[in-house]
């Protein structure tokens, strides 16, 4: 049961603080640029970039660098990426479209986020594999 170690919890906590604050400021920035109803632009960008980062790090950790410390991995993926991206805000924004009867945006936002984020995952994996080739040329 070594996942009860305080070190893992501390690492995750640190990553989570940075992730959540980044998410908050990013959505506030989106609202200040595009308007108060356009926070979902921020959420979309956050989720997509977060997916890219987590795919990059996890691919590096599992396929390429074999001695990454678990604390570092937890801090960056479970902590940062996990807190930086959000599923609940995404669904709440979708429900807002539903409530307003804006079915077009509902579908575009729901499916669009899902698809683009999976593309970002793939890009993250490819970037990780490509960076390996650069180092060991």
């Amino acid at each position: 049961m070594n996942w009860l170690q305080g070190r893992f919890a501390t690492a995750i906590a640190i990553g989570a603080i940075f992730g959540a604050l980044s998410r908050f400021y990013a959505t506030e920035l989106a609202k200040s640029i595009w308007g108060r109803e356009f926070g979902f632009y921020g959420t979309f960008l956050i989720n997509v970039t977060g997916c890219l980062v987590i795919a990059y790090i996890l691919t590096l950790a599992t396929e390429l660098i074999h001695n990454i410390s678990p604390e570092l991995r937890l801090m960056t993926t479970t902590g940062f990426c996990g807190a930086y991206t959000t599923f609940s805000s995404y669904e709440l924004e979708a429900r807002d479209f539903l409530e307003k009867g804006n079915i077009t945006m509902l579908v575009i936002y729901l499916i669009g986020s899902a698809i683009v984020s999976m593309l970002a995952i793939q890009v993250g994996v490819l970037l990780a594999r490509a960076s390996n080739k650069k180092f060991y040329k």
């Binding site: 989570a16 603080i17 959540a20 908050f24 987590i54 479970t78 902590g79 984020s117």
Partner: protein, 142 residues
Amino acid sequence: MRRPFSVDALLYNAAMSDIINILMIAAGAVAGALARFYITEWTKAKFSPKFPYATFAINLTGCLAIGFFFTISQGITGYPSELDLLIRIGFLGSYTTFSTYGFDTLTLWRSKQIMTTVFYWLGSVIFGLGAVVLGAAIAKLI
């Protein structure tokens, strides 16, 4: 020497409210991420690793909660924004995750279980929306 509307007082209040906001978000985020981590570890020990039960359940319960708390906050005048930051932006935003969901989908895809992958990928989204609606409905009953 009371100058209630001095620039100093305004700046102080602005700075304090910023700090309080940051503390609220941070506190919620730590709790949310740790909850997500412990639930995931416990689930990995108990259930088959073939399906991301933990992330699925976490995202769905998080959506249920956000529907509930958001609706509550809309219904109460003077609902403190700090509480909203703590619960919704801090805790629920950190508790639920899109990145883990995305990587789980990739892992499922690589395991060649196509039907399961599609179920997880689309099911999370659709059931998540249903969870928000359900949470909101429950809040309205109160």
